[in-house]
Amino acid sequence: MVNYEILAHEEVAADAKYIVLAGKIAAVPGQFLQVRISETNDPLLRRPLSVHDCHENSFSLLYRIAGRGTAMLAQKKTGDNLNILGPLGKGFPHTTLPTALLVAGGIGVAPLFYLARCLAEKGKKVVFLFGARQAEALYRRRELAEIVSELHLATDNGSTGLHGPVTELLESFWEYQVKFEIYACGPALMLQEISRLAAGHDRDVHVSLETQLACGVGACLGCVVADRTQPGKYFRVCSEGPVFNSKVVF
């Protein structure tokens, strides 16, 4: 639980903001932070936000204004402090393969951005498939383009890139000659579809899930998803995830 000063807080779209905080955190890609929104009891719970990027003396978050809590967060100003618990959870697993395919849907880009940077810095080839409803929701795609090897875009309304779901972009890659690791984050339905497609090609995907959290540290058992391999067993998204192998959760 540490207070971090807000160095910058910018709109990246009408419904999303990017926030830079002063300080060092030891986070691996895929981990998240529990952000306190208010010092009062309403909203009561912290809000989980992924580590979006990390630098020497600062780190950043990217969030969509989804409801009351994030709307209140959007009001915070440069110089204000943000009380944060974390980094929490298990991040994306390492890969020994030279190529990684990252698939983001909308705000799902949040944790994948940091993953992309880390993989690129390790010399991996990063192919990034990024889909959203419309061009505006392809958050921070310009900054992303500078990091990744390939960036393929798709929008539901065709305003940018492929006119269709991001999963269509995937198709050509199944025939790819080289082996590659797949990481995905986005709406539950998108993750489910990717997992289904991947399973068809006997591949698994590292998916980052979102559920309602309370404690964020594994103590309350509130955030669970079913373990598909063991009936009656559950995983805690906050502490055993938020990243899971698609085969065990879908």
Binding site: L44, L45, R46, V217, C220, L221, G222
Partner: protein, 318 residues
């Protein structure tokens, strides 16, 4: 002046201070061990534990409400064997461990107590007869004084350890249930468990929780919890462990002044894992400011002051 004395006794347990985490909000201690020094706690209350592992309810299990939290965990727990292993790792903190005991039937509870009866790592049992996410014959277990009496008596015969009965707030007359527990041999009662509540998702047009209803906790319930602690501590002679919405030392002190000998903190830990420590420090500071030597002296003080005031008013009137 020397430091105020924060010791309290609950049954056979000697607690070095009256603050403990609430069951189900602290797992078996392991998750919060990296956030603060658990040895500073008055006691550690672990998750509701059954003889065999329980899977718990289907998700979604959580919903946030105004200053409150709804949960329908459904007592997911790894069962007595694995729980014991986890509890043993807590021994080196030197803090009494209270085992929260759950089950579907009286036999279930007794199985758990038998399993842990000779186990040194556990100092006390807290019978959770009040989980709103479980039902026994349509109505939760802990709403019938007679059933509570019988379960408490049976449990008492199985163990010499301190026996605490955790009361449900979802009743017309909580003092009657507390008295039944006392009569059954409980060394203490703890309250409140969660208030039965629900939330509806108006876009999906269905309940938010898969279980439909869940237990409400957090600051929203504090006034109800405090009133019940007031009522129960007036009715019974055994110590009361108060909880429900405590977020800071001031909240904890309200419960102690109302009649609680000790307090537990649950939901507040999710926002601030250091709440227990801050409450201990705040209680110490309060006793110093008020030049009170021991926390025991202020247990129920608001009741005493209130009684005195009423008497004075009565005299004035007559």
């Amino acid at each position: 002046m020397s430091k105020p004395d924060l010791n309290v006794n609950i049954g056979k347990m000697k607690l070095k201070n009256p603050v403990m985490p609430a069951s189900g909000c602290f797992g078996y201690g392991e998750e919060y061990a990296s956030y603060f020094d658990l040895s500073r706690l008055g006691a550690i209350v672990v998750k509701g534990t059954t003889r065999e592992p329980w899977p718990g309810n289907l998700p979604p299990r959580l919903a946030e409400t105004s200053a409150g939290l709804l949960n329908a965990i459904g007592l997911q727990n790894p069962g007595a064997v694995e729980a014991l292993a986890k509890i043993r790792t807590l021994a080196h903190y030197g803090v009494p461990v209270i085992l929260n005991v759950a089950g579907h039937s009286a036999d279930d509870y007794c199985e758990v107590i038998k399993f842990f009866a000779e186990e040194k790592a556990v100092e006390a049992f807290e019978l959770n007869v009040s989980c709103p996410n479980l039902t026994a014959g349509g109505m939760a277990f802990g709403t019938d004084p007679e059933i509570v009496y019988r379960l408490t008596s049976r449990a008492k015969q199985l163990t010499d350890k301190t026996l605490i009965v955790k009361l449900s707030p979802n009743v017309t007359d909580i003092a009657a249930v507390a008295l039944a527990a006392e009569r059954g041999g409980a060394d203490a009662v703890s309250l409140i468990n969660t208030l039965l509540g629900m939330a509806i998702d108006i876009s999906k047009k269905e309940p938010v929780l898969a279980n439909v209803t869940g237990g409400l906790s957090g600051p929203a319930v504090k006034p109800v919890a405090l009133r019940m602690v007031w009522q129960v501590s007036a009715a019974v002679d055994i110590p009361v462990i108060g909880m429900g919405g405590i977020c800071c030392a001031a909240d904890a002190l309200e419960f102690i002044l109302a009649g609680a000998s000790a307090v537990a903190i649950g939901t507040a830990l999710f926002t601030n894992p250091l709440t227990c420590l801050q409450a201990i420090d705040g209680i110490t500071a309060y006793l110093e400011e008020n030049v009170v030597a021991t926390v025991k002296e202020i247990v129920g003080l608001a009741r005493k002051n209130q009684a005195q005031k009423r008497e004075e008013n009565q005299c004035g009137k007559s």
